[in-house]
Amino acid sequence: MNEKTALEELQFIRQIIEETKKAVIYNGKDYIFWGVLIILGMMSTYIFHMSGVHFNYFWIWVVLIPIGWIFSIYNRIKLKEKHPSTYSGKLIGAVWAAAGIAMTIVGFIGPMMGTIKPMAISPIACIIMGSAYFVSGKIVEVKWIGNLSFGWWIGGIVLLFVTSIHSFLIMALLMLFFQTLPGIIIYRKYKQTMAIKA
């Protein structure tokens, strides 16, 4: 066995050690940004409708969702530059990328083809968010993050039965309490961790 092979063995062992550490350095900015973005979309739709301004509200989302994706990708690149990527970090990235792709398909293609009613987008998005939080909680081993999933699932079930415009208001509140606020908590923890490290 030569040194090159030995170094390969080392690389493999290192990777296993990293997997065991389950370290995730995450700043929570995505959570906050997406939360604020969706609240903005929901509230503007709600306010426009309530004040009698009618147009195809779909266009609000055509603008907001790509902004969210661009920010998410930018934030990931920035984080990767600052911190080495870990196995758990990679998993969290995969969870939210998968949830984002699923919600984008459901939110754009379904209603475009008329297969999904626009009112059904919020409850389905809630159900997908529930899954994403459930798995995230297991990855980072933080119970309260996992428990947010129940808020999303229950919220999703409630929204399945709300057919009025108030559905948008409820979704905005869910986004505030189960996405934006947790994002702020994660962000503050990140700042604290970074301050300790510095």
């Binding site: 040194e3 170094l7 080392l10 062992i13 290192r14 296993i16 050690i17 065991t20 550490k21």
Partner: protein
């Protein structure tokens, strides 16, 4: 490679069975006594002695629980254990690169 400096290596890990136990536990979240016994191919008594040594060094934590009214002992690596194993591997790397 004959000038292998054993002085630098962690004595707690530097034994065939304990090294195997650490490597096993680094790749799983937790493992039961019987699983470890089967994998390292040791007797109950021998395995217990090695596990005790790792436990005393705070490299592993032990959880005793009853499943189907049978006592089960479950082992997992502690943060100290992970660090110690990492350091052990780093020292091996140093020796290779010497």
């Amino acid at each position: 490679m004959n000038d292998f400096d054993y002085q630098q290596l962690d004595d707690v890990i530097h034994s065939r069975i304990r090294l195997a136990l650490m490597a096993l536990l680094i790749s799983v979240e937790e493992a039961e006594f019987n699983f470890l016994k089967e994998k390292v191919n040791a007797t109950d008594g021998n395995l217990s002695v090695h596990l005790k040594k790792l436990e005393e060094a705070n490299y592993i934590s032990v959880k005793k629980e009853f499943i189907d009214r049978k006592p089960k002992t479950v082992y997992s690596l502690t943060k100290t254990g992970i660090k110690a194993f990492e350091l052990y591997v780093a020292q091996l790397e140093k020796l290779i690169k010497k």
